[in-house]
Structure formats: structure tokens, C-alpha cells
């Protein structure tokens, strides 16, 4: 199975093409690549938090099964908390997944393009993704503000405030938006970003 490189490992390789003063906007490229490293670092950090969330959800549910089966305890928060943890896992790691090539798509066109055409296609796809995730981030932010201001709670026995899980979407989508903006700026300034390899699923 092909493995894509980790984001934190690849910027060094990606920086390879930042030289060349004849490229327009070359002066700003080192700064943009530094920004890209910061984004990659944040994305890996968020993905690590997601991994912890998944592990915690496993343990919480396992605990719930044994607490109910062996000790006859009522389980109140475990399953609902796990659902929210996984929503966090899905969105917090969105930037990491996207930038490390984990989002699968059809590569029929992508694999046939090369050189300039390929760079333009990558740029357009990034701009489309930026438009989409800006909307999702904005929409998620309004949802969070709404549940924060109204003190909306989940209608269950446990009843946690819903702004907690709602916050996952603007956080995750926001991180992806920032990463996309930096990558688009690099592409527009003439820099090249190494494409992560597609993975087998």
C-alpha cells in the first residue's frame, strides 16, 4: 500500500523550489513556506488530538459495556460523549487529512495532466475547497454562536451544552481554510508544493 508522507516530514522536501529570483513574488515565498510549516505543525497537532479522542471513545465505551454488564451500573454519558468525540476527530483532522492526501478522489484527470496544466488544476481545486470550507466554517461558527448564546443543551439524561460539539466544525474547517489560503498564496507566487501520494482504500 502506498503511504503518503506525514505533513510534518514533507515541508522540507516541498521547500526545494522556493529559490529562483526570476519568479514573481519570490521574495514572499520563504515567509509563506514558514507559514506552511506552522500550519502543518498545527494540523498534525490537531490530528493527534483526534487520535486521542478516538482512543478515549474506545475506552469510554468499553468501560460502559463492563460497567453495565458486570456491575449493573447505568451508563449515562459514555455513548453520547463518544459521538461528540468522533465529530471532533472527523473535523479537527480535516486539515491534516486533506493536506496529506487522505481525502480520496478520482484521479483520472489528475494523473493525465502534467506541468502547467497540472499546476492550474491543483490551484483551481484548492480554490474550490477554500470556497467550500469557508462556507462550512462560517456556517459552523454561526451554529456555535447560536448554541452558546441560547445555552442550548442536549435533550438527554446527561444533557451537555451543545456548543461543545458544535465548536468542532468551525475549529476544524477554520484550520483547513488557513492551510488552503497559505497553499494557494504559495502557488500564486510561483512556488511549487509537492503533491502527497494517493493512498489505497
Amino acid at each position: 500500500m502506498t503511504q503518503s508522507k506525514d505533513l510534518d516530514a514533507s515541508p522540507a522536501a516541498a521547500v526545494g523550489s522556493e529559490s529562483g529570483s526570476d519568479v514573481p513574488g519570490a521574495g514572499i515565498l520563504p515567509f509563506l513556506f514558514a507559514m506552511r510549516r506552522v500550519c502543518a505543525f498545527a494540523a498534525v497537532g490537531a490530528a493527534t488530538v483526534s487520535a486521542i479522542a478516538i482512543c478515549f471513545a474506545c475506552l469510554a465505551i468499553t468501560w460502559a459495556v463492563f460497567a453495565r454488564g458486570i456491575f449493573g451500573l447505568n451508563t449515562i454519558w459514555e455513548m453520547e460523549a463518544s459521538v461528540y468525540l468522533l465529530i471532533y476527530a472527523a473535523f479537527l483532522s480535516a486539515a491534516y487529512t486533506d493536506r496529506s492526501g487522505g481525502q480520496i478522489g478520482v484521479r483520472l484527470v489528475t494523473d493525465r495532466l502534467s506541468g502547467r496544466a497540472s499546476r492550474i488544476q491543483r490551484l483551481l481545486l484548492d480554490i474550490l475547497a477554500l470556497a467550500l470550507f469557508s462556507l462550512i466554517a462560517y456556517s459552523g461558527w454561526s451554529m456555535f454562536i447560536h448554541s452558546w448564546e441560547t445555552g442550548w443543551r442536549s435533550p438527554t439524561v446527561w444533557g451537555p451544552p451543545l456548543w461543545l460539539p458544535h465548536l468542532a466544525i468551525p475549529l476544524g474547517a477554520g484550520l483547513l481554510v488557513v492551510s488552503l489560503v497559505v497553499d494557494i498564496a504559495i502557488r500564486l507566487s510561483g512556488g511549487t508544493i509537492e503533491e502527497p501520494k494517493a493512498e489505497a482504500h
Partner: protein, 441 residues
């Protein structure tokens, strides 16, 4: 816009976005948002996050990352190699190595929910071994490509799980329903493998045949130290899980969580994998797959809700029912459509997009939703083999770099035929699928 035009525009846009290379999950969201604007409801697009949140706010979906996690844990351990080494010792005859490989795929499918993972786990020891024993390269690769498809049929299965979530069908029943058809397909694969090796041996000269047998004996003696005892706890775990599911003592999400936790313990205690870099890679892979599949699931569900809300699903259902007077003809049309989609999209993406759209038709035509789930899954197994996106082909190609892609494809085609035959058999005899789930409480 009338429902049929809306259906054409939405699906057309979706396919366009997918084919220009936009990730599948994003394409679903993008197509839905563009169509929302086109039909004159631009204000609605501000609620996209709510739609995504509601899709993911589901207890059943919790099982998904847990099964992915469990599969990833088992995949980093040498469990696949152990299963393989044991089976190839049990049946030391030349023709039966291929059959052992099929058996290994079936067994590994019971601890993993994904097809490419099964191909990688069994194929990485199976393909080189079969090539070393002078199997025809096409057949050697085809066996693993075909056998690996069982990963999504024999429970636990990521495809059946997603099908259950999007169509609100009992996941426990779906898992039970996958067992007998999975074993039946494995048996058919094995019979085909035995038969083609027998044919192959018959064509050889006596000298070539005795040389081949000598290689077989030589390699059987020198097998590695893979031990089934080390894998046994995984199967004990899966047996307990299946019994708990069958008896209705625990939900699939609870089972998946216990399974993942237990797998961590087994890998740490039996295989003694403590290396932090291995665990880090494994966790990041789990997170990546989880995020990718959940984002597809979130927007696929929102997309199908959107289509249902605007009357598209009911219009399509009546269109299907009117277009083909016979429900079997309609079923065949659906089968062909899914086969075409299977050439381009990964199984779980097809299931989350297509299953909710077809469900009303399936119910109206009197098909059992559990049976249809297995029918769809066998169809998705075929999608794992069909080019250009037959994922199993690429996984095997990565293992057997010296074998031409053309040869791998040719060797896999008979297995595609067997899967098609399998769909026909379960259509003619639905009891094969429905007997076990009907016995559940």
C-alpha cells in the same frame, strides 16, 4: 425545477466535480450547495454545518472509526503472515497453496473490515510464496485480488456498517447476513483455484511437474516460524464479538469499541509492538481514514436528505417502477449501474450515495433490506476488481512489482465472474443470506 431534472442536475454536477479531481466528500457538499442556489434557496446554504452535524450525530456511526482502528492495529501486527504460514503448512500439496491463500483471506476478513487491508495482509506473504512455487503469475495475483474482496462481506465490514447507518437497517442482522454468502464465495474461489491449478499441472511435462513438486516440498519444510497460536486470541475475540452480536447483548458500536481496545492489548501483549513510531503511524492512519470516511458520510447523508426532501427519491422510485414493469429487470439495471459506479468510486462512497436513493424502490418492490445490503456489498466487491479504480489490483501490483498489470487483471477476471455468479445465486436463493439473521433475537 421538476424532481427528475433536479436529479439529473444534482447527480451530473456531483459526477463533474468528482471527475475533475475534487475529493468525493467535498464534491457531495459542493453539488448540494450549488443546486440549492440554483433552485432559488441561497439562504439555505448557511445551514450546511448543521446538516453535516446532524448526519454525524449518530450512535451507529461510532462503530466506524473503531472498526477502522481495529483493522489498522491488526494490520501492523504480523497476524496476516501467521495465518498464512499456518494454513500453508496444513495443506502442503502444490495446488492447495492457492486454496490456503483463499482461506487466509476469508479468515483475515473476520478480523478486518476492509478489502485492500485484507489483500495487503495476506498478499504480502501469499503472492511471493505462490510465485516462488511457480504458480502462473496471473493466477497467483488473481487469487489474492479475488480473495481480498471477502474483506467487506465477512463481518465486521465497513461497507455493511455504512449501509446499515444510511438505510436504518439493523447492523447486527447485516453482519450475520454476510457470513454464509462470504463462506460460499470463498468456497467457489477455492474450487476455481483448485481446478485451474489442476489444469496447469496437467499441461506440464512430467519433468516440469516433478520439479514443481520438489520446490513445493522444499519450501514447505523451510517455512518460517509463523504460529497460529499467536493469532488464536484474535479469533477468540471475534468469536465472542459475533456471539454477543448474535445474541443481541451488545450493539455494534459497543462491540467495535471493545474489539478495538482488546486488539490494542493483544498486539501489545502477544506481538510486543511497543515502538512509538509504529503506533504513531497507525494512529495517524486511523485518524486520516476516519476523517475521510466521516466527511463523505456526513455530506452523502445530507445530499440524500436534500434529494429526498425535494421529491427526487420518490420521483426516481416511480420512474424506475414504471420504466421496467418487472422488478427483476429493475434490480438488474441497478446492478449494472452499481457496477459502472464501482469502476470509478470506492465501495463506501457508492453505498452512502446510492443506497438511500434506492431504498424506497427496494422496499416497494418487496426486496428485503438486509438481503439488498449483501447484494450491494457483493457488487462493491466486484468494484474492488474492476479497472481503472479496482483498488485490490493496485495493492497486489505494489506487492508483485514484476508481474504486468495486464496479467494481474486477466488473472482476476475469473474471480469477477464468480462474484457475478454469487450475486445470481443469492438472488435465486435469498435464504442463503436471510437464514442466519432471521434466527436472531
Amino acid at each position: 425545477m421538476d424532481p427528475i431534472t433536479l436529479a439529473l442536475v444534482s447527480v451530473g454536477l456531483l459526477l463533474l466535480l468528482i471527475f475533475i479531481g475534487f475529493p468525493i466528500g467535498y464534491s457531495l457538499a459542493g453539488a448540494m450547495l450549488i443546486v440549492t442556489v440554483l433552485i432559488g434557496e441561497p439562504g439555505e446554504i448557511l445551514y450546511v454545518a448543521e446538516a453535516a452535524f446532524q448526519s454525524l450525530d449518530s450512535v451507529e456511526l461510532v462503530a466506524l472509526p473503531m472498526f477502522i482502528f481495529m483493522g489498522a492495529i491488526v494490520a501492523v501486527s504480523p497476524a496476516g503472515a501467521d495465518i498464512y504460514a499456518t494454513l500453508s503448512r496444513l495443506l502442503p500439496l502444490p495446488g492447495s497453496l492457492g486454496i490456503s491463500t483463499i482461506g487466509g483471506c476469508a479468515l483475515f476478513s473476520a478480523i478486518s473490515g476492509s478489502s485492500p487491508a485484507t489483500v495487503a495482509a495476506i498478499g504480502s506473504s501469499g503472492v511471493p510464496e505462490m510465485l516462488a512455487r511457480r504458480y502462473p503469475p496471473g493466477l497467483a495475483c488473481g487469487i489474492v485480488v479475488g480473495g481480498g474482496t471477502l474483506g467487506i462481506l465477512i463481518p465486521p465490514s465497513i461497507v455493511l456498517l455504512l449501509y446499515g447507518v444510511v438505510t436504518k437497517t439493523s447492523i447486527g442482522q447485516l453482519f450475520m447476513a454476510g457470513i454464509v454468502p462470504g463462506l460460499l464465495l470463498a468456497l467457489m474461489f477455492a474450487v476455481y483455484t483448485g481446478f485451474s491449478m489442476w489444469l496447469h499441472m496437467k499441461r506440464l511435462t512430467p519433468a516440469e511437474r516433478s520439479e514443481l513438486e520438489a520446490i513445493g516440498l522444499e519450501r514447505t519444510r523451510n517455512r518460517g516460524d509463523g504460529s497460529f497460536l499467536r493469532v488464536l486470541p484474535f479469533f477468540a475475540l471475534m468469536a465472542v464479538i459475533m456471539i454477543a452480536l448474535y445474541g443481541g447483548w451488545a450493539t455494534p458500536s459497543e462491540i467495535a469499541a471493545v474489539g478495538a481496545t482488546a486488539s490494542i492489548l493483544l498486539v501489545v501483549f502477544i506481538y510486543r509492538i511497543f515502538d512509538w513510531s509504529v503506533w504513531r503511524e497507525l494512529l495517524l492512519k486511523t485518524v486520516r481514514d476516519t476523517s475521510m470516511i466521516l466527511i463523505i458520510a456526513a455530506f452523502a447523508y445530507a445530499f440524500s436528505q436534500f434529494l429526498a426532501f425535494h421529491g427526487v427519491v420518490s420521483a426516481l422510485t416511480s420512474l424506475f417502477v414504471d420504466a421496467f414493469a418487472n422488478r427483476w429487470v429493475t434490480l438488474f439495471a441497478l446492478w449494472c449501474l452499481m457496477l459502472v459506479l464501482g469502476c470509478f468510486l470506492p465501495p463506501f462512497a457508492i453505498v452512502v450515495i446510492v443506497a438511500p436513493m434506492f431504498m424506497p424502490f427496494v422496499l416497494q418492490a418487496g426486496f428485503d433490506p438486509v438481503w439488498f445490503g449483501v447484494f450491494v456489498t457483493i457488487n462493491m466487491e466486484m468494484g474492488c476488481i474492476t479497472p481503472p479504480l479496482g483498488i485490490n489490483l493496485f495493492v497486489v501490483k505494489a506487492i508483485a512489482r514484476n508481474v504486468e498489470m495486464r496479467e494481474i487483471m486477466a488473472g482476476s477476471m475469473p474471480f469477477l465472474g464468480i462474484l457475478a455468479l454469487g450475486s445470481l445465486i443469492i438472488t435465486l436463493f435469498p435464504e442463503i443470506v436471510l437464514f442466519l439473521p432471521s434466527q436472531m433475537r
